[in-house]
Symmetry: C2
Subunit: 344 residues, 2 copies
């Protein structure tokens, strides 16, 4: 059942601007201007040329256009891969963010070029913005690359980054108030009488670090102490989180509450708890982070800190567009919200 064919039938007669110019009896420049609605051209001829091009099925060659004009109409969205082999893109948070970004970029008339970034390899910053291919870059997550991102910003790459505010930051970030988010989560558990609350996540990552800070603040406020052994480090993958939680349980760690750095982590943890015969929330109350679609469908439905991804995506896009224009590109701090369901 072959459906192949050489590019032979119906040669798409690669029309160029000169063809339209001839058809219209004007010069190429006029066509070029008319097609981008330049006010230089009389409205009547503009209209005529547009119609002619339309009928002929001509579209401007974006590659040539972008070589000459140094504008591509494309924005690169980069996903830093912390650990080589994780298929990060399939992560629900990442997918949702990408979908919102794609929607917003389309709204703004930009195309989206998706790039997985192996941040191990040196020089990824340069590869990121191959000259001319895209007008700007959105990075989803800072990973451990604060310094490298700063360098990229200093090199003049229009940038917007999803993440946390850090000292000495030369690039605009969009992100939730992670400290507040962590605080909301832990305070909620404390209010429900939980005394020994575990934090589950990789606190070396900037966003998670802030969530952890908020968590400790809330514990202090509640008069609880944050035992260091109750910081259980895990990556963002569900199976990883499940394994780390299982280990913690097996090690005899005593706890009655969990603040997870993400919903996927929380759900992995609940799996491990369930496997170990601990009931949620009776024995252990669990709070997640993100409020992905899965959260409300989890067993039990997950209490979590919602991040406003749709708003975040809009802010990221508008920020990078501002940077491209050379306008002030300010950082944006989004308010997280505690969504109380059944798990805590």
């Amino acid at each position: 059942m072959s459906a192949s064919r050489r590019r032979v039938s119906q040669p798409p007669i690669n029309l160029q601007m000169s063809d339209i110019a001839r058809l219209a009896g004007v010069s190429e420049s006029t066509v070029s201007r008319a097609l981008k609605d330049s006010p230089m051209i009389a409205a009547s001829t503009r209209e005529r040329i547009r119609r002619l091009a339309e009928e002929a099925g001509y579209t401007v060659n974006p590659v040539a256009s972008s070589l000459r004009s140094r504008q591509s109409g494309v924005i690169t969205v980069g996903v830093p891969l912390v650990h080589e082999r994780e298929p990060h893109l399939v992560d629900p948070f990442m997918m949702t963010m990408l979908a919102h970004l794609a929607d917003t970029l389309a709204d703004r008339g930009y195309n989206m070029l998706l790039a997985k970034i192996a941040v191990h390899q040196d020089g990824w910053v340069r590869r990121l913005q191959q000259p001319g291919r895209s007008d700007g870059v959105i990075l989803i997550g800072q990973s451990f690359e604060h310094a490298a991102i700063n360098e990229a910003a200093r090199a003049g790459i229009p940038l917007a980054v999803w993440g946390s505010r850090l000292p000495n930051q030369k690039y605009p970030v969009v992100g939730s108030d992670n400290r507040l988010g962590g605080q909301l989560a832990a305070a909620h558990l404390a209010e429900r009488g939980r005394k020994r609350i575990v934090f589950l996540g990789d606190e070396r990552l900037p966003e998670v670090a802030h969530r952890h800070d908020g968590y400790r603040q809330a514990l202090r406020d509640a008069g609880l102490k944050a035992a260091p052994e109750r910081l259980v480090r895990t990556g963002f993958g569900g199976p990883d989180a499940e394994a780390r939680m299982a280990e913690a349980i097996a090690s005899g760690l005593a706890f009655d509450g969990v603040v997870a750095a993400s919903d996927v982590i929380a759900i992995g943890a609940m799996r491990a708890l369930s496997a170990a015969g601990r009931r949620v929330p009776e024995d252990v109350a669990v709070v997640g982070f993100d409020d992905i679609l899965l959260a409300e469908h989890a067993h039990p439905p997950l209490t979590t800190v919602r991040q406003e991804l749709a708003r975040g995506a809009v802010a990221l896009v508008d920020t990078v567009i501002a940077a491209i224009r050379g306008d002030a590109a300010d950082s944006t701090l989004l308010p997280p919200t505690l969504i109380v369901r059944a798990s805590a």
Copy 2:
């Protein structure tokens, strides 16, 4: 907290090939060849030039390269939007497919350009493959555009389409055996003694049509009759499905089983059933389609027909690459699997 800056500091000294040529004491042609590992160049000079370029931080300008060579290293992934306002990309099935495609394309050394396609507007096929911007196109879903896609294929655009096999198809498709899938779903319900089984989906779309065919076949095989009023039409959105299901219940339609055209539809239906006081699976058994991550977390966990998206994504990518090369681009039929959980 402004983090903006004009592109002034640290001018990235836009290095070009001529600079490397001068540095190496050779011509531009030699540099060009060396950097693409042409066997024409002596291994020693090749290595020397590569190192020089590396050190200088030079990368080939992909726009200029692609204007001249007519190869972009980019593949466009198009998502046809059936209904204008649905944010289709946020659909879990779509997001998962996109993530797998992005992973696979990256593996194959291609970049992914994401395009939402408004199929209402005429001429979308042409816009899809703006000359030069990408080497080929992957379409996720045929929508109602079989004829237009055929036209694109005839025009020589290298294509691969996720969808169903249709008569007179001039383009390669990758997709599940939807007829078999529908059959598996309905047969499972029949085996469990369900007699009045509703089909929930838009049977005008090719893939859904085939699932519906399989459903009817299974009913016939089980000696049941497929009453036309048990075909309840709905789009792919969860809220839409919930509303249609609620209407069907309110209208007094009698049924004890549901075959849904997707998991999202199934979950929407279960919501409506639950709201109407019908228990799943006791009163109504429900089978979904896709096996998205959400399915196993649904209430109750959803029995569904799994599609192998990861394999599908690989097939799509390899198919479009074959088409780009001018090789035979064959269609691929993936085997669906029934995953039995608690909902049926």
